[in-house]
């Protein structure tokens, strides 16, 4: 009832028409009603239908994954979340998502650590420092980059970036490996760290695009206030623009993170597939959930397929939980 009432109110406000006021004999607030025009009614059906279908699809995917994954969960039990090996179709099946989840987490963290600062810097540069004439071109360029298939980034990463980084990483391992355990490595190159870097390349355009858009909405009169006090441009950015864009920065980062978590081809091409947890992030070998599913899919038998569905469901749940957390963070930031 309440939902209907508020809808009636918006309809009334939007259209500026409603029924003639009625006499209300009882005490207390009256019911607010409005007669919707046929076009409004139709639009409401179309809009709510679209939203409903989207929600329904997400729920159906979840149910489908759960049903398909059930045999694997029954076989592996809780061990599914702690086992690193992936041998579901063996005589004594042993499999779990621990290594895949670890790899996914490492690549996503590396990707975000690279993406977010670079995206903010790029967005601020385009909005505030780039010559005005170049702004539109740079904006389109970033948007265009967001449309490049991830395979292209992955190939570039594989054949250019990773070989080019090899000596630098080797040097880092030599210098820091002795003191920092996670910097140790026997061989570098096809590592989780490098996979994360290439995933970052794919996240940067979309994240930059969103952050730039949000930052460009920063209120001009507050920016002028900062400048009129004798502020530098950098002062204006840190005092007005970045605080204003905080929620947008989080939102953009989350969209990038969503892409990082699900990125398949980059990890598949870069990583030397190994189903084990490797805290040494520069060392060759590792696996992510998405690349694991891609790699194992063709050889999978009956239980193997179910196990892959279970891995997919785990990623699905993690993604949804992270997005919900992000929504909470954004709400908190808005309230503050």
């Amino acid at each position: 009832m309440e939902a209907k009432d508020s809808e009636g109110q918006t309809g009334l406000a939007a259209l500026g028409l409603g029924e003639a006021p009625e006499e209300t004999p009882e005490e207390g607030p009256r019911r607010i009603e409005a007669r919707l025009s046929p076009s409004d009614r139709l639009y409401r059906v179309v809009a709510s239908g679209g939203a409903g279908i989207t929600l329904l699809i997400i729920v159906l995917i979840g149910i489908f994954l759960f049903l398909e994954a059930l045999p694997a969960f029954q076989t592996a039990g809780f061990g599914f979340f702690t086992t690193q090996r992936w041998d579901p179709d063996a005589a004594t099946p042993e499999f779990g998502v621990a290594a895949m989840m670890f790899g996914t987490a490492v690549t996503a963290v590396v990707a975000m650590l690279v993406t977010v600062p670079l995206a903010i810097a790029t967005a601020v540069f385009i909005n505030e420092y780039a010559p005005r004439a170049a702004r539109a071109a740079l904006t389109s360029l970033v948007d265009l980059m967001a449309a490049i298939p991830s395979l292209i980034f992955a190939l570039w990463g594989l054949f250019f970036l990773v070989p080019w980084l090899q000596p630098i990483e080797g040097w880092l391992v030599e210098q820091l490996g002795g003191t920092l355990p996670f910097m140790r490595a026997i061989a570098t190159g096809s590592s989780l760290f490098n996979a994360g870097l290439v995933v970052a390349l794919m996240c940067i355009p979309i994240t930059t695009s969103i952050i730039r858009e949000v930052l460009s909405q920063a209120p001009r009169h507050e920016c002028e206030g900062a400048l009129a006090l004798g502020g530098t441009r950098w002062g204006m950015i840190t005092t007005v623009i970045l605080p204003f864009g905080r929620t947008g920065i989080i939102g953009g980062a989350m969209l990038g993170l969503g892409r990082a978590l699900g990125e398949t081809i980059a990890a598949t091409l870069i990583l030397n597939i190994r189903f084990e947890i490797k805290p040494q992030i520069l060392e060759t070998g590792g696996i992510t959930v998405a690349s694991g599913i891609a790699v194992e899919f063709f050889d999978a038998q009956k239980l193997g397929l179910s196990a892959l569905m279970a891995a997919g469901l785990s990623l699905f749940v993690v993604t949804i939980v992270i997005n919900l957390l992000a929504a909470v963070v954004v709400e908190r930031a808005k309230a503050a």
């Binding site: 507050e222 002028e224 206030g225 400048l227 009129a228 006090l229 502020g231 002062g235 005092t239 605080p243």
Partner: protein, 276 residues
Amino acid sequence: MTETTAEVTAVEEFAPVVEPAGGTLRGVGVSAWFGARKVLENVDIDMRAGVVTALIGPSGCGKSTFLRILNRMHELVPIATLAGSVLLDGDDIYGTALPITEIRRRIGMVFQKPNPFPAMTIGDNVLAGLKLTGRKVPNREQLIEESLRRAGLWNEVRNRLGAPAGGLSGGQQQRLCIARSLAVRPDVLLMDEPCSALDPTSTRRIEETILELKDQLTIVIVTHNMQQAQRVSQHCAFFLAAEDEPGRVVEQGDTDFIFGSPKDPRTADYVNGRFG
């Protein structure tokens, strides 16, 4: 041109500048354009320390543009250009003698719409200018209190300096903006219709503040309110733009003179409310 002769006499008259607190600001032959459209032509105004200068005139006559030229806010509009010069104690602010941040620190501005930083606390807003100019605050509390007192806001907010500035009323926000400008110790304070969004009580408070600040720094105020110009200013410049022509200063002089016995009939018509 009557304007030019007035200018010359003005300069002679004020030549031995006694130094009350504040800086002397001179607009010399200032013209301005937005793209190809000329909005201001050859404006000469002396804004002396210890004197409140009011810029009056109908909408679209270029007075706000002139004000924004005085602390280099004009150039923030991408297509804006200008000619002439603005001298702050003799230094051309459009030259390289002073860094732009220093110019804007010395020539503060209060805008038409109150624009405190909404996410910051009241106290932080007062100190925002120091943070922005990268200067250390030796005594935070003292500076906050002093600035808020000068802006006439201290008594209303003394117990909630830690509350967000967004919660203040419009009039309080505007006085907070004045306090924020005063905290960086400017020589000149420009005010662009500071009361146009405020109720009469808040307007009166701001006018009182202006009169209290008069001897501490040079004030230039753009206003549409004739009574306000009479109440707060001692010097007054009347801007007017004929249709499809740039704005010019029709007449300027002592406020009493402009409102009492203006030479130009257009000034008399405007200050008596017959047009505009």
